[in-house]
Symmetry: C2
Subunit: 348 residues, 2 copies
DNA sequence: GGTTACCTTTGGATCGTTCCAATTACCCAG
DNA sequence: CTGGGTAATTGGAACGATCCAAAGGTAACC
């Protein structure tokens, strides 16, 4: 039935038109399912399309129509399960809407972020979903993406402020509330000396979580010692290495609220190495509820953020923005939920 | 310094040309760093490019040049850490080569695979990296991607055979040897009744791993009972649910070689639910060495496949194919390495 | 002065689609 | 037979870049 030639030029509208004696314009109308074309003609053209193995050239169409059928997705690190789930959600929802995902990843470096955005923007995506790298600035991002491509910021704020003509939407997690819930939970379990572990203050999400922690501590009338704030890179290895800092000076904490799950899992490793048994001698909480959180030893008390749903939501936001370019920019705060597991043991 | 207008049309070569009194062709030469243009002219043009905030339209250029600057990546499930790492590796290497990644994901459904490939191919990628869904057929895939776009198959074979004019490269893991090593390891630890757990025989990688297991068992002169082959979907929940099948009839196994880590982690859950303690009462091995394997309880003995490196390798393969479209198609078998952890306990 | 050579620059066609105004064909009422 | 209406089709100009052959300018040489 099908008979694409194994070798040769790509088939275009002209080939089809010539092949069944109609004009290019008519074939184009058939492709787009226009009601204008005669039923018989349509059938003839469709047969010819099949016969020659025609493949639609969306790039050419997008050029002419000044539209786009792709959305760029820029995340910090795809291998981080939180972002992997997020990306899966984005791609799912975009695919359903007939869009294709252009992928980019920054590795938390603003330099790479600039390079990646610069490269992606040249492909003319209809919009960008960006989870900014730590320390990323509004001005520089705006300069490379320009003002013609809408942006949805996910997970973090940019540094500096945006000109008001840039209608950038935001999708943020309820970081402050989440960290407050975790801290209150540890306090309820009897802990008084609680640290905040991991992340960098360069990142807005980290500042917010820290603020939630501070809020809960203050409300409970608990003092916070400076050495209970340990900053780390966002990998397990780095976090494990930094664990000792909690115990070096002053009174050691009995529990820690961690910036996220990856860092919490790293802290667990670091504790084991010191002979401290997490979930028994030391309580801790994470943030994100990645898949590993439910199978680690001990299983990790954390805040569920349902990243796949967030991905879908980010996709919805950018698609809505494409439909209404001039609408007021909005900020959506997604709720988070405390999932209590073994790691947040009562004070022994 | 910069002064992009907040609103208005996109800037094109014509705007730049008009803005500094040269022709469109000259501006194009400047953009591509041609040595033909006079130094002074180049400076003037570059200044104007900056002043107007010009963004290169790669789609238009690709149309004219009949080239492509993107590669499509189709994986089974992005949220699976094995594929997430793989995708990260692909994107990294493609980015370095100036290519952009078009993402697609099939969820192990051949129907979705067809849809995703159909949508991606319309965007004219220079090549496709495809990890086929279970049961995916060479004929159907070929029919939708056509013969003009090179393909690198990763991880699995397609069903049926390809016409020889389709130069499709393959990047496979040494599945058979890996499963053999795992089985031999369990045998060396004293186990005699060993099952092969998880996956479907629709997938070539699963058949290969099973073959490696059979080979090791036969070489050791051990019998295999039919109920020791349990097929499952590739999720933890499904695997946990299927665990009982190992114990329902005949003599129960004392160990299992699992299709992959996800399934092995699921089996662990299922065992716990039956009151069997994996790594103590029952030995098991995985395949892939995903991040969770080193933090689960017990930690998982598995085969390391370094998926990020495989991703880079797949990217190299497709880029090499773009450079030499007519070269002989090849199959690369990537080595795997046994990582012994707690789950493969000796027979007690 | 005329010829050649070299260095820059350029107009116009082109890639594969869509848009638009115009055309053709046909039928029916007046 | 004319005029008007509907239905279907079409040629040619876009979209924003690149390619190519040709042209303009300058300098050197005979």
């Amino acid at each position: 039935m099908e008979s694409q030639t194994p070798v040769g030029r790509k088939i275009t509208l002209n080939d089809i038109a010539a092949g069944c004696g109609v004009s290019r314009a008519t074939v184009s109308l058939v492709l787009r399912g226009s009601p204008l074309v005669n039923k018989a003609t349509r059938a003839r053209v469709e047969e010819e399309l099949r016969r020659q193995g025609y493949v639609y050239n969306r790039a050419a169409a997008n050029l002419r129509r000044r539209t786009s059928s792709s959305i760029a997705l820029v995340v910090n690190e795809l291998a981080n399960p939180f972002f992997a789930e997020f990306a899966a959600g984005v791609d799912e929802a975009l695919g359903e809407a007939g869009f294709v995902t252009l992928l980019g990843s920054t590795g938390e470096s603003t330099t790479r972020e600039q390079a990646v955005l610069g490269s992606l923007i040249e492909h003319g995506p209809g919009g960008i979903i960006l989870s900014p790298a730590e320390g990323s600035e509004a001005r520089t991002v705006l300069a490379t993406v320009g003002t013609h491509t809408p942006v949805v910021l996910f997970n973090r704020e940019l540094g500096g402020s945006l000109p008001q003509y840039a209608h950038w939407d935001r999708l943020l997690l309820d970081n402050q509330r989440g960290a407050r819930l975790a801290t209150e939970h540890l306090i309820a379990r009897g802990h008084r000396r609680i640290a905040f572990f991991g992340g960098h203050d360069d990142s807005s999400s980290c500042r917010d979580r820290h603020a939630g922690y501070v809020q809960a501590m203050q409300t409970a009338g608990l003092a916070i010692e400076p050495q209970w704030r340990v900053q780390t890179a966002l990998t397990r290895v780095e976090a494990a290495r930094a664990a000792h800092a909690l115990f070096d000076h002053g009174t050691a904490p009995t529990a820690a609220v961690c910036y996220n799950d990856v860092v919490a899992l790293g802290l667990m490793l670091g504790l084991y190495q010191r002979g401290v048994k997490p979930g028994h001698d030391f309580a801790l909480t994470g943030f994100d509820d990645i898949a590993e959180a439910s199978v680690s030893t001990p299983t990790l008390t954390t805040l569920s953020t349902t990243p796949r749903a967030r991905g879908r939501q980010a996709a919805e936001l950018i698609l809505a923005r494409l439909r209404h370019p001039q609408a007021q920019a909005g900020t959506v705060i997604a709720p988070v939920e405390l999932v209590v597991r073994e790691s947040s043991c009562p004070l022994s």
